[in-house]
């Protein structure tokens, strides 16, 4: 008997919640990005787990996970580029105005 689907979904939910908390509470743009990356990892785990347990013969979930990884890598790359551009001006990566976004 194997470790069940629920265990993977539970771990993924915990990771996702941690990432969500970090993304909403951190002030440094880089920390927010790391939290977002954690959420992306949670989603990837979810997809691979579903692929293994729900559709073991088709690779749909694994293909989805690869595409999701690639898209999030591209997004992180662009976000870092914007952070660098801001840093060149302001010498800081604190998100001073992010408080307004928390609502």
């Amino acid at each position: 008997m194997n470790i069940g689907l629920e265990a993977f979904l539970g771990l993924s939910a915990v990771l996702f919640a941690l990432g969500l908390y970090g993304a909403l509470s951190k002030r440094s743009a880089v920390m927010v990005l790391m939290s977002l990356e954690l959420m992306a990892v949670a989603v990837g785990l979810n997809l691979v787990a579903f692929s293994r347990f729900v559709t073991p013969e088709a690779m749909t979930g694994q293909a989805f996970a690869i595409f999701a990884m690639v898209v999030s890598a591209a997004e992180i790359g662009l976000a870092l580029a914007i952070v660098i551009a801001i840093y060149r001006h302001a010498r800081s990566v604190e998100l001073s105005a992010l408080e307004r976004l928390k609502g």
Partner: protein, 118 residues
Amino acid sequence: MGQDYLTLAMFVLVGLLFSAAAVAASNLLSPSAPSAAKSSTYECGSLPIGSPWVQFRVGYYVYALLFLVFDIETVFLYPWALAFNRMGVSILFAMAIFVFILLVGLVYAWKEGALEWR
């Protein structure tokens, strides 16, 4: 079901014990005689200069971003190579288009001077 969790739990336990034992052993076995030179940051024998939180040159990030592009390309190349026998020649064209678009991006970065060390 229980057996798998037991394996997992043992891995976690052994991992925790090993790292705790390593730290504890070095604390117990080593003689404690601190001096200013010993407690300074170890940096390959040379004196540490400045804060450890130095800024990397912006140039590094451009290289990192360009590396990322080709890193991601290989993520697609592996499953593509595995599927090649079953899918036939049509996916050769698909991959050629994908690589072509990436190469145009690289040529653009090259033309804009992103590959020159400044």
